[in-house]
């Protein structure tokens, strides 16, 4: 399985919730959570098991016109790494 074929999906144990005290989103999972910035929230929302990493980068490049595709690709890889490290991701192919 190559990385290009992976379609990341959030582990079903994860809940994304808006935190009205900070205006940011929280990714909640058993007994803890991660506070996300706007970019991470946008990436997390795309982890539905339908999009490849290339699809995600394309989608975000359309949304964030001020960032280069290279920067966006780096941000996606970095954040998916954070999620995978914590077991918060499932990769469907």
């Amino acid at each position: 399985m190559t990385l290009a074929a992976v379609r990341p999906r959030l582990n079903p144990k994860v809940r994304l919730r808006f935190d009205r005290r900070t205006g940011r989103h929280l990714l909640l999972y058993p007994e803890t959570g991660l506070e996300l910035n706007d970019t991470a929230t946008a990436i997390a929302r795309l982890c539905t098991g339908e999009k490849t990493i290339d699809d995600m980068v394309d989608h975000l490049t359309g949304t964030y016109a001020d960032a280069s595709p290279g920067e966006i690709r780096r941000a996606v890889h970095e954040f998916l790494g954070v999620l995978a490290d914590r077991g918060l991701l499932q990769g469907a192919t």
Binding site: P12, K13, R15, R17, D19, R21, T22, L26, L28, Y29, P30, E31, T32, G33, A84, D85, R86, G87
Partner: protein
């Protein structure tokens, strides 16, 4: 208010009643003398007030929370508030049907404790036959696809089983494994001579756990909590007093930690008498050990104060007699010799069984 003092987690101790008698129970020694349990309506109001304060995680614990027959109402109410709800249980009494119902009502995860991988040892530590039923409960959680945390309180009687404990957690497809060394307060302090492992035992277990953590990264989270008796630095108890956690005990007392009310001279309040946000912001008990003002020497000028907040106040009180003193777990604390002598005793008595003083006394029911 800034985020410096914001509770993220409400620990709801629904009852002190429990079918088990573990000699390291985190409930207070006098748990049976406490008042009546607060009812479901009060709990639902507390959940609501906690969510308004910023709480996003809810731990339903006890005692044994399954002994509340209104647990379903509480899980359903928590879900309506979008709280991430964790059930922390011995797994007894539980049926597959009830777990399935709780899941349908919005339960997000379940944590089940296990005492040992050997039935006879596990049942002896728990003081009641429980091992087989715990394994059943773990399997039900997995088959219902509820994220499962296996929790093991480590001590000298089970710490040598570390490989088997990890294998058991893998076998039941746990999502997380908490290998949490006993914290020596309350019942565990009473039983310290029977429970405290040697440094050698701890080091070996830590090495095995670190290897498992690396091997299982991404599939099962392995958490190893070193006991503060062997770290020479105090633990960041509750991530700071009145900073991230609120505990509400079975009779509705709002507390910064499970045992804060065992410190004499502190005033805590009941959720039946005051709104939770007022208690959190304004009660004398919650404010007593917040910030840096109260810090004793040498904590006051120590660079680690931002990491450990001066350590555990209950431990300072129960080991030194003064909750305002440095936590004796710190090697710089004046009272550190009590920790050293406990370690020496653990070495001297290694391999010699000491009888447990089991948790006893009947928790009162609300009905």
């Amino acid at each position: 208010m800034n985020n410096e003092h914001r509770p993220y987690t409400l620990i709801a101790e629904l009852t002190y009643r429990c079918p088990l008698h573990c000699p390291y129970c985190s409930n207070p020694l006098d748990f049976a003398e406490h008042g009546n349990e607060i009812d479901a309506d009060t709990w639902l109001r507390v959940f609501h007030e906690a969510e308004e304060l910023g709480v996003v995680q809810l731990n339903l614990t006890g005692g044994e929370p399954l002994l509340r027959d209104d647990l379903e109402l509480l899980v359903e109410g928590a879900r309506k508030l979008d709280l991430y709800t964790n059930l922390i249980t011995s797994g007894i009494p539980l049926t597959s049907q009830r777990l399935s119902r709780l899941r349908a009502l919005g339960l997000d995860s379940v944590q089940i404790s296990i005492q040992s991988t050997r039935r006879s040892v596990a049942d002896r530590i728990a003081g009641a036959p429980s091992f087989n039923r715990k394994l059943d409960a773990m399997r039900w959680a997995t088959s219902l696809e509820i994220p499962l945390t296996v929790n093991v309180v480590l001590h000298r009687e089970n710490i040598s089983e570390i490989e088997e404990l990890i294998a058991l957690a893998e076998c039941v497809s746990a999502d997380r494994l908490e290998l949490a060394n006993t914290q020596y307060l309350g019942w565990a302090l009473k039983n310290r001579a029977a429970l405290l492992p040697t440094r050698e035992q701890i080091e070996r277990a830590r090495t095995v756990a670190a290897e498992a953590k690396a091997r299982l990264r991404g599939s099962m989270e392995v958490l190893f909590v070193t006991p503060d008796y062997y770290t020479d630095h105090p633990k960041s108890c509750m991530e700071g007093w009145g900073r991230r956690f609120i505990v509400v005990n079975p009779e509705g007392l709002a507390l910064p930690c499970h045992l804060a009310h065992t410190i004499p001279g502190l005033r805590f309040e009941h959720v039946t008498q005051r709104r939770l946000s007022d208690i959190w912001h304004h009660s004398a008990g919650f404010n007593r050990f917040r910030g840096n003002e109260w810090l004793p020497d040498p904590c006051r000028t120590c660079e680690r104060r931002v990491l450990d907040f001066g350590g555990c106040r209950c431990q300072a009180f129960h080991l030194s007699g003064d909750a305002g003193m440095p936590d004796p777990a710190c090697s710089l604390a004046p009272g550190h010799d009590v920790i050293e002598s406990a370690r020496t005793q653990a070495d001297r008595t290694a391999g010699i069984p000491v009888l447990f003083e089991y948790r006893t006394g009947r928790g009162r029911s609300s009905r």
